[in-house]
């Protein structure tokens, strides 16, 4: 993102709230607050230090106001861009800009959802579109399924290759104590599961869980004196191509291309410099599309790239090391959790699932139906 200084801001605190199935009647705001409390404890700051606040939620129409009320603070700078699951990657760029401009110094980005407890329909209200709704697409799954159909047609991508994405995610989840789904999973299991919207079975689709979390950003200067090693914001970029799937220009090329290019330019890095990818895998096709669009393989070769365990533990390219939205957690909007995992991997805190070389992480958020893409490249002190 032009105008934003490479490495001027850093993520210094990161934490999840309770995940999975939370206690009865916990509210989305309760989960936000849990995440914030834990993320502040993670870096040794307190609510009194927070002067910038960002959030986006599906169950709370004016979530940032609700969060200010709940926390009882008066932040100098607030933001609540709502781009679906990628909101939090957009917030990172906005928070970094606000910190660089001196509008705030300690910014918190938070999320919470009780999607599992209250049910998918209650958690996220669908808009009526007179040009799509009458055809009853099962959204968001059918939109991604349409993209998958096109990728399969154009590049020969197979359902087995989609299945490989789900299997790799499950294998990572088995190494993550916080993951929701850990049962062994094979490609054959994915293919024979209940069909949702062809070519997707339920195992090609993200989980429905509760959960929340928060991250804390501050200036590079202040970051140095805090508890944990900073994860510097090296690059940010975004690409928004459409809202509804019928308006997406090319179903095989996403805004991740523009997002990645802008983020790499700011970071002065390329895909080959990234030690890991944490991307928003709402559906198995996402992983294939984003790996292509972010330059980890050529367009059309994503299916082959994810095969033979290449993105699974022990493979050539670690992708979604927490188990992803497919197996770790997916509370409605998942974008914050990939930032948390990126930070933890860079710090070397990930135990059994720790990636060996962990200096640069590509974190890529997706919102809507492949609509709003936002990339954040994070790096350790060795990279700045």
């Amino acid at each position: 993102m032009e105008g934003l200084k490479r490495g001027a801001a850093a993520i210094v605190g990161a934490a999840e709230s309770d995940l999975g199935q939370v206690a009865d009647d916990m509210s989305p705001m309760d989960l936000c607050a849990q995440g914030i409390s834990r993320a502040l404890a993670d870096c040794g700051l307190t609510l009194k230090d927070v002067d910038g606040l960002f959030c986006a939620m599906t169950q709370q129409r004016m979530s940032i106001i609700s969060l200010i009320e709940y926390l009882g603070i008066a932040p100098k700078f607030i933001g609540s861009s709502m781009t679906g699951g990628s909101s939090f990657e957009f917030h990172v760029a906005q928070a970094a800009a606000a910190i660089q401009a001196g509008l705030c110094n300690v910014a918190v980005i938070a999320y919470g959802s009780t999607q599992r407890s209250v049910g998918r329909k209650q958690a996220s209200q669908r808009e009526i579109n007179p040009y799509e709704t009458p055809f009853k697409p099962f959204l968001p799954a059918s939109a991604y399924a349409l993209a998958a159909s096109r990728h399969m047609h154009q590049y020969g991508t197979t359902r087995e290759q989609l299945g490989e994405v789900a299997v790799a995610a499950r294998k990572w989840a088995q190494l993550n104590p916080a993951a929701w789904e850990k049962k062994p999973l094979t490609v054959a299991d994915v293919l024979k599961s209940r069909m949702i919207s062809h070519p997707f079975t339920v195992r090609d689709c993200c989980l429905v869980t509760d959960g929340g979390g928060a991250i804390v950003l501050t200036s590079a200067e202040r970051a140095k004196s805090l508890k944990k090693p900073p994860a510097y914001v090296l690059g940010c970029g975004h690409g928004v191509t459409h809202m509804n799937i019928s308006s997406m220009p090319d179903l095989t090329v996403t805004g991740a291309k523009a997002a990645g290019e802008a983020a790499y330019k700011m970071a002065k890095l390329s895909a080959k410099d990234c030690d890991m990818v944490q991307l928003y895998d709402a559906f198995t096709i996402n992983t294939i599309l984003f790996l292509e669009d972010l330059g980890f393989c050529r367009k059309g070769e994503g299916g082959a790239f994810v095969s033979n365990g290449n993105i699974a533990p022990g493979g050539g390219m670690p992708v979604n090391t927490n188990g992803g939205g497919l197996s770790y957690c997916h509370p409605g909007m998942y974008g914050l959790f990939i930032l948390i995992e990126g930070v933890r991997q860079l710090r070397g805190e990930c135990g059994e699932r720790q990636v060996k070389k962990h200096d640069v992480a590509m974190v890529h958020g997706n919102g809507g139906v492949l609509s709003a893409q936002s990339s954040v490249i994070l790096g350790t002190s060795a990279t700045v």
Binding site: F135, K136, F138, A145, L146, S149, M195, H198, I245, S246
Partner: protein
């Protein structure tokens, strides 16, 4: 821009009620615009003409939705020959027999009650 007397959606639906699939054309961009709106997304111009499609197109992408209750059904994106794309479904054929590249033709699915008519497609060969 003068005040609107009819919305883009109302104009679109009134064509469907006459059995026509209407779309907009932007003379400045020299290309079709869909969904109907008041500004051309290619030029920002408010000069948009209404045109009626010949109703022929090609399946661009397709899926079969498996609802929790009831029969599976098709949802497709259709590229009409005039250069616009819309969501629809292909009827008169099994939902999983709809393939990308298939030539299709338009017909109106009449709305019932409060529902507006919608454009659906059938295989051209049939």
């Amino acid at each position: 821009m003068p005040n609107a007397t009819t919305s883009p959606l109302a104009t679109y639906v009134s064509h469907l009620e006459k059995g026509e699939l209407a779309y907009q054309f932007s003379p400045e961009a020299n290309r079709a615009v869909f969904f109907p709106r008041v500004l051309c997304p290619f030029t920002g111009s408010d000069k948009l003409e209404w045109r009626v499609s010949k109703g022929r197109g090609t399946v661009y992408a397709t899926t079969v939705v498996y609802p929790a209750e009831g029969q599976p059904f098709n949802v497709a994106l259709i590229d009409c020959d005039e250069g616009f794309r819309l969501m629809s479904r292909v009827e008169d054929i099994a939902p999983d027999a709809v393939t990308i590249g298939m030539r299709v033709k338009f017909r109106v699915h009449k709305g019932g009650g409060e529902d507006a008519p919608i454009p659906v497609f059938t295989p051209e060969a049939a």
